[in-house]
C-alpha cells in the first residue's frame, strides 16, 4: 500500500499544479459552499472533509476503493479523508450514517447506496446542510446526488470480454460459450446482447458462440453447467462468464480437469477469487473495474463539486489527478473508463 501511494504521488503531476494554486487560496474547508459561484481556474480547495460511505464496512471491495483509491486522492488535494458506515448492508443503517455526516458538516459524501430510494430523504437533508453528494458503485435516484461515478458501461464490459476471449483463444478462433447468471438478469442479458453485436464484427469472425447456459449465480449449478458445456461441445475453445460466481466455479472445474489451459476462460471476476487460477494457468486474464481507481475518481469528483469546478451538469470537465481529465455526462454521470484487465503480472497488487 505504501509503495502504491508513493507511485500515485509521483504520477500526480497535474494534481501538484492544482495544489500549488490551491495553497494560495484562503479557504480551509469547514463546509462552505461556493459551488454556485463557479471556479474556472479549476483549483481544488484545501481542507475539504471527504467521507466515504460504502454499502458496509469490513468489505474488501470497498476497503480497496476507499482506502487505496479515495484516501490517496484526498491526501493529494490536502483534504480530510474518512470512511464510515454500517457493519451490515442495510438502507436504514446507512441513513443513520448520512444523518451523522450531515451533522458533522462533511463537505463531500461519497456513497454506494444500499437502496436507490431509501437513502434519498437523508441525502437531501445533507445537501441542504451544504454537503456535495457523489454516488459510486451503486447510484441513487439522480435528483438525490450531484454526480454518479459509473464504473463501466455495458458496451465497455461486453467489448472487453470479447477481446479477452479472442486474445486467449488465439488467431485460429473456434467455438465459445457463455456461462451467465440467471436467465432473466437484466444486466447479464444486456451484456450478452452487446457481446453478440461485438462478435458480429469482422475481427472476431473466427469466433462462434455455440451456447449460453445459466448457473443461476449458484456455485454448484455453475460448476455443473461448465462441466456440461465441455461434454456437449468437445471442440469448445473458450468460456466467457460475466458473473463472479460463474467464473470462479468454471475456473475450479477447468483447473481440476484435463481441459486446463486448453479451454480458455475469462469474464468478470475478482482477484481474490481467481488468484490461484491465474497463477496455475487456467485463466490468462479477466476483467473488472479497478475499485481503487473508482474511489480515486469519486474523491476527485466530490472535490471538484465542492470547489465549484463542476456542478454536475453535462459537458463540464475536471481533472482527476493521475487519471487525467473527465467530462460529466448525461444525468451527472462520470464514467471511469474501460474495464480493467487483471492478469498474472498485476493480480498481486489487489486484495478484494
Amino acid at each position: 500500500m505504501r509503495i502504491r501511494r508513493i507511485r500515485i504521488v509521483a504520477t500526480a503531476a497535474l494534481a501538484a499544479v492544482a495544489l500549488t494554486l490551491g495553497a494560495c487560496a484562503e479557504d480551509t474547508g469547514g463546509g462552505t459552499d461556493t459551488g454556485d459561484t463557479g471556479n474556472a481556474a479549476g483549483t481544488i480547495k484545501e481542507g475539504l472533509k471527504v467521507t466515504f460511505l460504502p454499502k458496509q464496512v469490513n468489505n474488501p471491495y470497498f476497503d480497496t476503493s476507499d482506502n487505496k483509491g479515495g484516501k490517496p486522492a484526498v491526501e493529494e488535494f490536502k483534504g480530510q479523508y474518512a470512511q464510515t458506515g454500517p457493519s451490515e448492508a442495510s438502507p436504514s443503517a446507512q441513513v443513520s450514517y448520512i444523518n451523522t455526516l450531515s451533522q458533522q458538516g462533511t463537505d463531500v459524501i461519497i456513497i454506494a447506496a444500499n437502496d436507490q430510494d431509501a437513502v434519498c430523504g437523508s441525502l437531501m437533508e445533507a445537501k441542504t446542510a451544504g454537503a456535495k453528494i457523489v454516488t459510486y458503485d451503486s447510484d441513487t435516484k439522480p435528483e438525490c446526488r450531484d454526480a454518479f461515478v459509473n464504473q463501466a458501461t455495458s458496451e465497455g464490459i461486453a467489448q472487453a470480454q470479447i477481446k479477452l476471449i479472442s486474445d486467449a483463444v488465439g488467431p485460429e478462433g473456434g467455438e465459445i460459450a457463455i456461462l451467465s447468471a440467471t436467465a432473466n438478469a437484466t444486466n447479464q442479458n444486456a451484456w450478452i446482447e452487446l457481446m453478440k453485436t461485438e462478435l458480429a464484427k469482422p475481427e472476431y469472425s473466427k469466433l462462434t458462440l455455440v451456447a449460453t447456459v445459466y448457473g443461476d449465480d449458484q456455485d454448484e449449478k455453475s460448476f455443473q453447467e461448465a462441466q456440461g458445456l465441455l461434454s456437449k461441445y468437445p471442440n469448445l475453445k473458450g468460456i466467457i462468464s460475466p458473473t463472479t460466481v460463474g467464473i470462479a466455479a468454471a475456473a475450479r472445474y477447468l483447473s481440476g480437469s484435463s481441459y486446463k489451459g486448453k479451454v480458455q476462460l475469462t469474464g468478470l471476476g475478482t482477484p481474490n477469487q481467481l488468484r490461484e487460477y491465474v497463477k496455475d494457468g487456467t485463466v490468462k486474464a479477466f476483467a473488472l473495474w479497478n475499485p481503487a481507481d473508482l474511489g480515486y475518481l469519486a474523491a476527485y469528483t466530490g472535490a471538484a463539486l465542492a470547489s465549484g469546478i463542476i456542478t454536475g451538469k453535462e459537458g463540464e470537465t475536471f481533472t482527476a489527478g493521475k487519471l487525467g481529465e473527465y467530462t460529466v455526462g448525461a444525468n451527472g454521470e462520470v464514467l471511469l473508463g474501460d474495464p480493467f484487465e487483471f492478469n498474472a503480472s498485476n493480480i498481486d497488487e489487489f486484495n478484494f
Binding site: 474518512a82 464510515t84 454500517p86 436504514s92 443513520s96 451533522q103 458533522q104 430510494d117
Partner: protein, 350 residues
C-alpha cells in the same frame, strides 16, 4: 388474594415516601440517570450532540423501535416473546407498497388495511400460542421466517418507491416551530394508552400476575389465554403501524425492510428492566432504554466510533441489562435483610 404480592413492582403509587424512595434505587431511576449523564457528557464533549437536529435524527430512528417496544413490554411481562415483529413490519411494508402499486391511492385506506393486516398476523401468532399452547419463542421464530418469506412473495426483489412526495415528506415533517418529527406525538399518545393499561387497569395488574405465575392467575380468575391472544394482536398492529411509518419515512417498500429490528426492540425492552422470565418491569424503563440506546448510538457515531466498536458497546449494554436489574435487586434485598425490622421502608413495603 395472592395477586397483591405478585404485582409488587407495579404498585409504586400506593404509598407516598417509601414508593418514592424505592424508585430512587430502582432500575428505572438508574436508566434515567444514565440517560441524563450520557446526554450531558456527550453534549459537552462531542460536537453536534445536543443540537436540535441531533434530537430530530435520534427521534426518527427511535420511533419504529419504540412503537413496537410498547406492546412488546407487555408481552414480555407476561412471560412470552414476539420475535416476528420485524418480519411483520417487512410484510406490511410490502403489502402496503403492492396495494399502492395496484392502484389503491387513498392514504387512510392504505393505513387501515395495513393495521388490519398487522392485527391478523399478530392473531395468527396468538392462535398458535393460546389455542395450540405452543411456546411463543418457537411460534414467532417460525412466523419470523414465514412473514419475511411472504414479503418476498409479495414484492420479490422489487422496491415500490413512487409515493406522492407529500406523504413521504409528511411522515418526517417536524412539529411547527421545531425540528422534532410530529410522529413522536403519535408515539407519545400511544405510550400514554399503553401506560394507562399497564399501570391503572386490572388488565395491567393481571399481566404481572400472569408473568409471575400463569397457573395461579388462572385460578385467581384471570383469563390468561384471552389476555395473551389480544397482546399478540396488539403487537402485530403496532408493528404494522411501524411498517407504515417505515415505508413513508424511507419512501421505499422492500421485502427486506426492517430486517433485524426485532433484536433492537427486544434489546431495548430488556435493557429497560423487563425480566425475560416475565412478571417484572415497566414502560418507563423501556422508553428510557430506547432513548438511551438511540442517543448513545448517534453520539458515538458522531464521535467517529467505527461500526464494529458500536456493536460491542450495544452488546455490552445488553449483557448489563440482563445482569444489572438482578444485581440491583439482590443488593436491595441484602440491604433490607441487614436493616433492623423497624425501618419505615421495611414496615410499609412488606
Amino acid at each position: 388474594m395472592a395477586t397483591d404480592t405478585l404485582v409488587k413492582p407495579a404498585r409504586t403509587g400506593s404509598a407516598g415516601p417509601p414508593g418514592w424512595r424505592r424508585l430512587l434505587g430502582s432500575w428505572d431511576a438508574i436508566l434515567i440517570l444514565a440517560l441524563l449523564l450520557v446526554v450531558l457528557v456527550a453534549t459537552a464533549t462531542i460536537e453536534g450532540v445536543g443540537s436540535p437536529r441531533f434530537y430530530r435524527f435520534v427521534v426518527l430512528e427511535a420511533i419504529p423501535i419504540a412503537l413496537i417496544a410498547l406492546p412488546m413490554t407487555l408481552v414480555i411481562i407476561t412471560g412470552e416473546i414476539d420475535l416476528s415483529v420485524a418480519s411483520t413490519v417487512g410484510l406490511t411494508c410490502s403489502v402496503l407498497g403492492q396495494l399502492w402499486y395496484l392502484g389503491v391511492t387513498s392514504l387512510p385506506v392504505l393505513i387501515v388495511l395495513s393495521l388490519l393486516l398487522g392485527a391478523v398476523l399478530g392473531a395468527v401468532n396468538g392462535v398458535f400460542i393460546t389455542v395450540f399452547g405452543l411456546p411463543s419463542l418457537a411460534v414467532t421464530i417460525g412466523t419470523l421466517a414465514l412473514y419475511r418469506g411472504l414479503a418476498y412473495v409479495v414484492l420479490g426483489d422489487r422496491a415500490i418507491a413512487d409515493y406522492p412526495p407529500a406523504w413521504t415528506q409528511n411522515a418526517v415533517a417536524p412539529i411547527p416551530g421545531t425540528v422534532i418529527p410530529w410522529f413522536v406525538l403519535v408515539l407519545a399518545a400511544l405510550a400514554v394508552v399503553f401506560g394507562v393499561v399497564l399501570y391503572l387497569t386490572p388488565i395491567g395488574r393481571s399481566l404481572y400476575a400472569i408473568g409471575n405465575n400463569a397457573e395461579a392467575s388462572t385460578f385467581a380468575g384471570i383469563s390468561v389465554l384471552r389476555t395473551k391472544f389480544w397482546l399478540f394482536v396488539a403487537t402485530g398492529a403496532m408493528a404494522a403501524l411501524a411498517g407504515v411509518f417505515w415505508t413513508f419515512r424511507f419512501a421505499s417498500a422492500r421485502a427486506d425492510n426492517a430486517t433485524g429490528l426485532e433484536l433492537a426492540v427486544v434489546a431495548a425492552v430488556l435493557l429497560g428492566g423487563v425480566s425475560i422470565f416475565g412478571g417484572r418491569g415497566g414502560l418507563v424503563g423501556v422508553l428510557a432504554a430506547v432513548a438511551l440506546l438511540g442517543v448513545l448510538r448517534n453520539a458515538l457515531q458522531l464521535a467517529d466510533v467505527p461500526a464494529n466498536a458500536l456493536t460491542i458497546v450495544t452488546g455490552t449494554l445488553l449483557i448489563l441489562s440482563v445482569v444489572g436489574p438482578n444485581l440491583v435487586r439482590m443488593a436491595r434485598e441484602r440491604l433490607r435483610r441487614r436493616r433492623p425490622v423497624t425501618t419505615p421502608l421495611e414496615r410499609t413495603s412488606s
